[in-house]
């Protein structure tokens, strides 16, 4: 068993695939992160990301998969779900080892797993489209903090950009410390330093005057539409798991 360590990027993953075929390194274990000389008796091969090699693998994938299939593979990797690298790798190997397009071969465990990962990622993306709660700031920007389970912020661009075109907005992933900002023309990724901003005085001063009013109206609305005689907490929590509550205006 060879252990490969790569930098976590998609190009890095594809480079690893190249190395595996080139040097016939199977079976392998694929890990993300810095190369450490931790395990004494394990053979560790660091992978140096190489765009040319990655490009060749990508070209091969494009030949064997549909455009949507390549996109799905990319999304499954980008979501950064811990411990899934080997399944993504297994999928890619299955692609290259078959003569036909295997995207829908759900009897295969890697294809099935990728479809499960994709389902998880899409659900999280959809939840974010639903659970983002903008707060209006003094300068007219609408700001929302999120902490999604997976790295889905890049997948949110299309939805929010085509919906909120006439207001500046920012969605910030506080777990991964980067955000998405729309300036009325285009979106860009940004990183912020919250140390100074998050002092209580600054936080209160940052909100627009009517922000509190609308938050209260929304909470009131949320309570008014509940039908007490149909209470079903289990269903409620299944739809909005507790970990999302702290960013939901109506549940705080």
């Amino acid at each position: 068993m060879n252990t490969l360590v790569y930098d976590g990027t998609f190009e890095g993953l594809l480079t690893a695939v190249f190395e595996i075929y080139e040097r016939k390194l199977y079976p392998v274990k694929l890990l993300k992160g810095e190369w450490r000389s931790g395990a004494l008796f394990e053979e560790i091969i660091p992978i140096v990301t190489d765009e040319a090699r990655a490009g060749r693998v990508l070209k091969g994938l494009r030949k064997k998969l549909s455009a949507a299939g390549v996109q799905r593979l990319y999304i499954s990797h980008m979501a950064e779900i811990a411990g899934e690298d080997c399944n993504v790798l297994g999928f890619i190997r299955h692609v290259f080892d078959s003569d036909q397009n295997i995207e829908e071969d759900y009897g295969n465990k890697y294809v099935m797993r990728l479809s499960e990962i994709l389902k998880m990622v899409r659900r999280e993306k959809h939840r974010m489209e639903a659970f983002v709660r903008f707060q209006k700031l003094n300068d007219g920007t609408f700001y929302a903090a999120i902490e999604p389970d997976f790295n889905v912020l890049p997948l949110l661009i299309k939805h929010f950009k085509s919906r909120y075109t006439d207001q500046k907005w920012m969605i910030y992933d506080t777990k991964r410390n980067y955000g998405l900002y729309y300036d009325l023309h285009d979106t860009q990724f940004i990183e912020m330093n919250f140390d100074e901003l998050s002092k209580p005085v600054n936080v209160i001063a940052a909100y627009s005057e009517d922000e509190g009013v609308y938050q209260n109206l929304w909470k009131n609305y949320f309570n008014s539409i509940n039908i007490a005689s149909r209470k079903n907490t289990r269903l409620h929590v299944r739809h909005i798991p507790r970990r999302y509550w702290r960013h939901l205006t109506e549940k705080i």
Binding site: Y106, L217, W218, Y221, H236, H239, E250
Partner: protein
């Protein structure tokens, strides 16, 4: 703005609107235009109430003043409750500000009838028009069509709204006569008929002229209350089927009656909401719309009521054991869809996957098939399959013995009516 007054109005008018179940915000294809606000292209549930229902739209009444006296309705004329009315501008401001904060997909506006049908409908249309034309709002708008409103107003409503709906309220005309003596079923069917014609006409027009204006792109829906009158499930589903077939409705909603008033014509105030029955009706509705079942296969003269213990598909299967077992690796989609425990998505996955290799139990399980139910009705690439000659009743008992109903903790007997 007077915050306290608005808050009070919102509480009253949201509370009065909550018995309308429809909250769909999908089915439209309105794009954001000229850098305006919003779009209505995908259904999103932004929150869920503690009773587990989706909150997608700002669902309010324009007013709960009403000239009608329908027994099942909280806003009935003779009910002693607080009354309130929004101004057009107040509704517009709430919608826009909630929408900008990503609380909602849009507006669901209904109203009590004040003065007369046209006067009320005009106000509803006015709100939608203002949102669309003055604020370039492209979010979802669902308007109630007020029974008896004129064709001109309905026509205008269709130009601004994504969806329109008329509530039939009771599954049968007799039920309506009993509980809503002021309402007339024909008044409800007329606008539905008119809108259906207009939608068809608009679709034709769109084919010829790409720029023809949109007309209620998300179609029409309706709602019936179940459990307030003694209709059987057969009557409820057949009436739903009639409206799906003849009026191209997108959805029929079934609302389990929540006792809100003491009235000798209605179930007593302490009767439980018929949640299980409501759930079974929706399952049956899905079978009719997506699974290729005919209404008579689900309910008929021998079986006028849906089985509350098991879902309607399983119920159909155990009555029709001669159709099974089917071979999952060979059967047509239509047949696979009829197997209990296999849903639409699983069926599609099975069809795609079996082109590569025959599927066994493990793989079916991974694909998402509920094996504990499906195993009695299928064979697959495996030597293991149900060899005993079981009757439908046996199977029902086996399945019920292994599964925990999610309703077990609030088991209830069907409500007593009289």
């Amino acid at each position: 703005m007077n915050v306290d007054r608005i808050t009070e109005k919102l509480n009253i008018l949201a509370d009065a609107a909550k018995y309308d179940v429809s909250c769909a915000s999908s089915g439209s294809n309105r794009k954001n235009k000229d850098k305006g606000l919003g779009n209505a292209s995908n259904g999103i549930c932004h929150s869920y109430t503690e009773d587990g229902r989706c909150v997608s739209l700002l669902k309010i009444l324009l007013t709960n003043h009403c000239i009608f006296d329908c027994a099942y309705c909280v806003s009935r004329k003779n009910n002693d409750i607080k009354r309130a009315a929004f101004t057009v501008q107040e509704v517009v401001d709430l919608t826009i500000n909630f929408y900008r904060r990503n609380y909602i997909e849009g507006l669901f506006l209904s109203s009590g009838i004040f003065k007369n049908a046209d006067y009320t409908m005009e106000r509803l249309v006015h709100v939608a028009k203002k949102l669309r034309t003055e604020h370039n709002f492209n979010g979802y708008i669902h308007l109630k069509s007020i029974p008896g409103a004129s064709a001109e107003l309905m026509q205008e409503a269709g130009l601004y709204a994504d969806r329109l709906s008329v509530n039939l309220e009771m599954p049968t005309e007799a039920g309506l006569k009993l509980l809503a003596p002021d309402k007339n079923r024909q008044d409800m069917i007329d606008p539905m008929h008119f809108l259906n014609q207009e939608i068809i006409r608009n679709t034709e027009e769109k084919k010829l002229f790409k720029n023809a204006p949109m007309f209620a792109p998300a179609g029409q829906s309706t709602q019936v209350i179940v459990g307030a009158t003694p209709e059987s499930d057969q009557q409820v589903l057949q009436s739903a089927n009639y409206f799906y077939k003849n009026f191209n409705l997108k959805r029929v909603y079934y609302s389990g009656y929540v006792p809100v008033l003491a009235d000798k014509r209605l179930p007593a105030l302490n009767t439980a909401v018929p949640l299980v029955r409501e759930n079974r009706l929706y399952q049956a509705d899905w079978l009719m719309r997506f699974y290729g079942f005919h209404v008579n296969e689900i309910v008929n003269n021998q079986n006028p009521l849906l089985d509350l213990d098991i879902d309607p598909k399983l119920s159909w299967a155990i009555r029709n054991m001669q159709a099974f077992p089917i071979d999952i690796n060979k059967a047509d989609l239509q047949l696979i869809l009829r197997v209990p425990g296999i849903g639409l998505l699983s069926a599609q996955k099975i069809l795609a996957a079996r082109k590569f290799a025959g599927l066994g139990w493990e793989q079916l399980k991974k694909i998402g098939v509920a094996i504990n139910r499906a195993r009695y009705f299928i064979t697959c690439k495996s030597n293991e399959f149900e060899r005993r000659d079981l009757t439908g009743q046996n199977i029902k008992q086996f399945i019920m013995a292994q599964s925990q109903s999610k309703y077990i903790k609030n088991t209830q007997t069907q409500l007593n009516l009289f």
